[in-house]
């Protein structure tokens, strides 16, 4: 499409103030599954100059191609889902109160007493809770059900919203020392990493970047994106839970942490949707070792990424996932270490620069 694309930046991508600023915009934007427009808009603005071709497909995926210049190139698809978990308004009960449903996996224990934003205008509203003073001991032993809760806009809110509007937590990104706290770090980290990879794409690959939709409700965008791109290699870059908290009983070791903060990018060997291609796993691990980047294996257990859809596309695509470890994903306030983010970006970049067609031979 664009014949005047900017040349790749030849230095490795870094995480600096410009990246934190872009991540802030990405995380504070709302893109509940099925309505990813706010994030799609930012992505389109950021990547256009660096791509040979950019299109928005029939589901809303942003499919961007950056062609390499070397003769022996590998067609690599990297997917990062743009969508986040959230809410949809289901009924206007008048006086500013709406019932709602969750979109994607949100623990109902994360809902009460939260500020939310609704619709494209980010109209402020709250999810309240029955006052503790009015609850019975029995009530305090159970979790309020979603159908008992309401999104409350204030007394005249019915003019501000309508059934079907999406909503999400109102938390604004904040840097906390070595960490970053925000909503939707799952998976705006993948989105920003993919933007940076497009800017720094090496010439030995055709980078097929898929900013996908509807991952949180069933890997839907990745399936059609992989079909369109028909890649030789697939990779999902995402955020994966770090359950690295202490157990309530100090004598019990936490052996099911999934990943740990401060231990670098999480390489997948197996999750609920994919068994990673072993050649690709070796490639990532060898890259990390060669570049002195800390890395960890995401503990094999359920869960999944866009790779779950990509690797089964057409006649099959050797695939793998790499994630930034994130605490408290799918809540109002998730948390990462900036170092883990930087190391993840660096690992994928260096792995791409080392990629040759021989990897699949």
């Amino acid at each position: 499409m664009s014949s005047q694309k900017q040349p790749s930046i030849t230095t490795p991508p870094e995480v600096g103030s410009a990246q934190v600023e872009l991540l802030t915009r990405l995380c504070n934007a709302m893109a509940v599954s099925g309505d990813e427009q706010e994030v799609r808009q930012i992505v389109l603005e950021e990547i256009q100059p660096y791509c040979d071709q950019v299109e928005v497909d029939g589901l809303g995926n942003v499919l961007a191609t950056r062609l390499g210049s070397q003769a022996q190139k590998v067609r690599v698809m990297i997917a990062a889902h743009m969508d986040e978990v959230g809410f949809m308004l289901t009924n206007d009960e008048g006086e500013g109160l709406f019932s709602f449903e969750t979109v994607g996996g949100i623990d109902p224990r994360q809902l009460v007493g939260k500020a939310v934003i609704v619709g494209r205008e980010h109209t402020p509203a709250v999810i309240g809770a029955k006052p503790i003073h009015l609850t019975t001991p029995e009530e305090r032993k159970r979790v309020p059900k979603v159908e008992e809760l309401r999104i409350d806009f204030g007394l005249e809110g019915s003019s501000k919203a309508k059934v079907g509007d999406r909503a999400t937590f109102a938390t604004q990104l904040e840097v906390l020392g070595p960490s970053i706290r925000a909503k939707a770090l799952d998976n705006r980290l993948g989105v920003i990493n993919l933007i940076e990879l497009l800017r720094h794409a090496p010439d030995n690959i055709d980078l097929l970047a898929a900013f996908t939709v509807q991952e949180e409700v069933g890997l839907r965008g990745a399936r059609v994106a992989a079909y369109r791109f028909d890649p030789q290699i697939g990779m999902a870059i995402d955020a994966t839970p770090a359950h690295d908290l202490p157990a309530y009983d100090a004598d019990v070791e936490n052996t099911r942490y999934n990943t740990k903060l401060d231990h670098g990018p999480a390489i997948y060997l197996m999750d609920g949707a994919t068994i990673s291609d072993r050649r690709l796993a070796e490639w990532l691990i060898q890259t990390a070792e060669a570049e002195n980047i800390p890395w960890q294996i995401r503990q094999p257990n359920p869960g999944g990424t866009d790779a779950g859809a990509i690797h089964r596309t057409r006649a099959g695509v050797p695939s793998i996932s790499v994630s930034v470890p994130v605490r408290y994903a799918h809540s109002a306030a998730s948390l990462i270490r900036q170092e883990d983010w930087a190391h993840t970006l660096k690992l994928v970049y260096h792995a791409l620069t080392r990629l040759t067609p021989e990897i699949l031979s």
């Binding site: 007493g113 029955k130 032993k141 309401r150 007394l155 904040e174 157990a247 099911r256």
Partner: protein, 352 residues
């Protein structure tokens, strides 16, 4: 009117001030009340006392306005691997805590989040039920060594939810219980700038209400008012809250009736409300009100009390909601009542 009530309220909602740690909020209230009153002082326990003198002959009778300014919150009890364990200060429903933004008041103020460990790290009986407070943690995003340097057991933790303007003149935030009533007192003092009043008015922003009405015992003892008007919030109707203990939001204040309340004083107050067409609900409090009145009425030889309440949704969550016009109604009613008080008012209060 020079007072920007909404800005005043939002400034208060942005400040911490847990029970017995009220310094930050007291400074804000003092700044607002200083130009509206004649004398400011701080009680031995930290309540703010403001005197606005009346124009009656000395010795003038005294009315006490009591609105507690303290907030509920958390306190650090232990630190494990950089995670803070906490207990409650005041009545906190642990079910509203997971995912809440907080400020840990350590060697400096540190933003943090209350977090819920995953199920496999909790006792099996918790399962998918509410996680009790003792198992919740606070994560401040720092490495464990930094946490040990900056935080210690006993540091207080306040809610950090910024105030929000919602529709229809409503505001959401933490600690609207009871900063909404402090704002009503400010509004009352503002109205009294343009009204004559014979009585001395003692405005008090009281401390430690949430942990046992402490300030409401001590300030009336020091001030010795002839009678007292307590200002607090009450339960507004809302999702899951519809029974007789609730009143509509934004449709008027609530005036409590029950054993904490002096019936003749109640009648005198409602008479003014009726005359001025200030909408109110009569709030039945058959036992005790759970407000400063429960303490004030028993101070010294007994002090007659009334209670003026602002309806509030989602009490004791960081997203409490009030209607600003209800705050104005509370402040205006009290100002008009005070300005109409005859010097011999106490002699007119008869038990019938």
């Amino acid at each position: 009117m020079t007072l920007d009530l909404l800005s005043h309220l939002k400034q208060m909602l942005s400040a911490p001030g847990l029970s017995a740690y009220e310094d930050p909020i007291r400074e804000i209230v003092a700044e607002a009340w200083r130009p509206l009153t004649d004398e400011l002082s701080v009680s031995r326990l930290g309540s703010l006392h403001a005197l606005k003198r009346g124009d009656g002959a000395e010795p003038r009778p005294k009315v006490l306005l009591s609105a507690h300014m303290d907030a509920i919150g958390l306190m650090v009890t232990a630190i494990t691997d950089g995670f803070l364990h906490v207990t409650q200060v005041g009545g906190v429903d642990a079910r509203i805590l997971p995912g809440q933004l907080v400020t840990v008041h350590g060697r400096k103020d540190l933003p943090g989040t209350v977090v819920m460990p995953p199920e496999f790290l909790l006792p099996s009986e918790v399962e998918k039920g509410p996680v009790p407070l003792q198992y919740l943690l606070v994560d401040i995003g720092l490495h464990p060594t930094e946490v040990e340097e900056l935080v210690r057991v006993g540091d207080v933790v306040s809610f950090a939810q910024p105030p929000l303007e919602l529709t229809g003149g409503t505001v959401a935030g933490h600690t609207l219980d009871n900063r909404a009533s402090v704002a009503a007192v400010t509004f009352c003092l503002e109205v009294l700038q343009r009204r004559k009043h014979a009585w001395d008015v003692w405005a008090v922003a009281s401390v430690q209400e949430e942990i046992g009405l402490t300030g409401a015992f001590t300030s009336p003892f020091a001030i010795q008012p002839d009678f007292a008007i307590a200002l607090d919030v009450t339960f507004a109707k809302g999702p899951g809250s519809t029974d007789w203990r609730t009143v509509p939001l934004g449709k008027g204040i609530a005036l409590a009736w029950g054993p904490n309340i002096h019936p003749a004083l109640f009648n005198a107050l409602t008479k003014i409300a009726d005359e001025l067409d200030i909408p109110y609900s009569r709030e039945a409090t058959p036992g005790m009100t759970g407000t400063d009145t429960a303490a004030i009425q028993m101070v010294k030889a007994g002090i007659p009390c009334v209670l003026v309440s602002t309806p509030l949704r989602y009490m004791h969550t960081p997203v409490e909601v009030v209607a600003v016009k209800d705050i104005q109604r509370a402040g205006r009613l009290i100002a008009e009542f005070i300005s109409a008080l005859p010097v011999d008012f106490m002699q007119t209060l008869e038990w019938k």
